[in-house]
């Protein structure tokens, strides 16, 4: 994959993550699910920041950043706390795959960014009930 292509698909992934975390955040009960609620809020803020960084990274090579879709399909019905947690987990897993590809397609600062993003998502995933894997972000292994 070309560096630009990898950056754009990471950005597309972040657009989806920001959208879905926004929906999840609106559905998590602040009172009865306060731990989940704060995890989701943290993740939302973080992914929004990542999205903005990726937009800047694409602009830095004089290209037009991919735009967000109008809406995205949620990974599941996302109504019970269990489903909301599973949806968040699914998002992190998808982001991890995109970040790993970005590591392999870039170098220097962009690669470092992707290495750190992958690492962070791998740890965040555990907070949403994910299990450790031997090769996070690499589906074929």
């Amino acid at each position: 994959m070309k560096p630009l292509e990898a950056l754009q698909s990471a950005l597309a992934g972040e657009h989806a993550a920001v959208y879905v975390y926004g929906v999840i955040g609106g559905r998590v009960s602040l009172s009865s699910e306060s731990a989940l609620s704060s995890q989701v809020r943290t993740a939302y803020t973080l992914h929004r920041g990542r999205r903005d960084q990726l937009i800047a990274m694409v602009r830095a090579v004089d290209e037009e950043p991919v735009a967000s879709e109008v809406s995205y399909q949620l990974p599941n019905q996302a109504s019970t706390p269990g489903q909301l947690t599973a949806a968040a987990l699914e998002l992190e897993l998808r982001c991890m795959a995109v970040y790993a590809d970005l590591v392999g397609s870039t170098s220097w600062a962009n690669r470092q960014w992707a290495i750190d993003a992958l690492n962070d998502a791998a740890v965040r995933e555990l907070g949403f009930g994910g299990s450790p894997e031997a090769f996070p972000g690499i589906a074929e292994l």
Binding site: G104, R111, I115, N119, P132, F135, I138
Partner: protein, 141 residues
Amino acid sequence: MALADEQSTLDAIEATAARHRELAGILSPVIAAHSEHVRLLAEAVPAASDTASDTGASASPSPSASSPTEQGVRRYRVPREPQAALSLLSENEQDLSTSTKRHAFVAKSGPFARLLASMAASAAQHAVLLDRPLPTKQAGR
């Protein structure tokens, strides 16, 4: 070297598992993951370029009785308390994650960088996992 770092982390975990049998449930998947890492790295790194060994298939006539401890691998002291033993392993994993990220950053090949970044993320997951407090009255789970 990424391979040597992985190997010494694996040695430490195995030494801990041998000393604290009750931690098998926690440590077995971690051992499995690192064994996979070591196997893949040993395949990826051409035999000559690593300091760890000259893995010649030639019969070097030294049927050493002391198996894994000789080749520059420092003897690992396993803490007596299970919780302390896990905490030390957690620190090891954090260090491994940091050094592997560095290897990923400088890797010449994109696919190898991707692989290393994934291994670094795996180590980061282990660091979190091993840092969790043991259930009081450890039932071994």
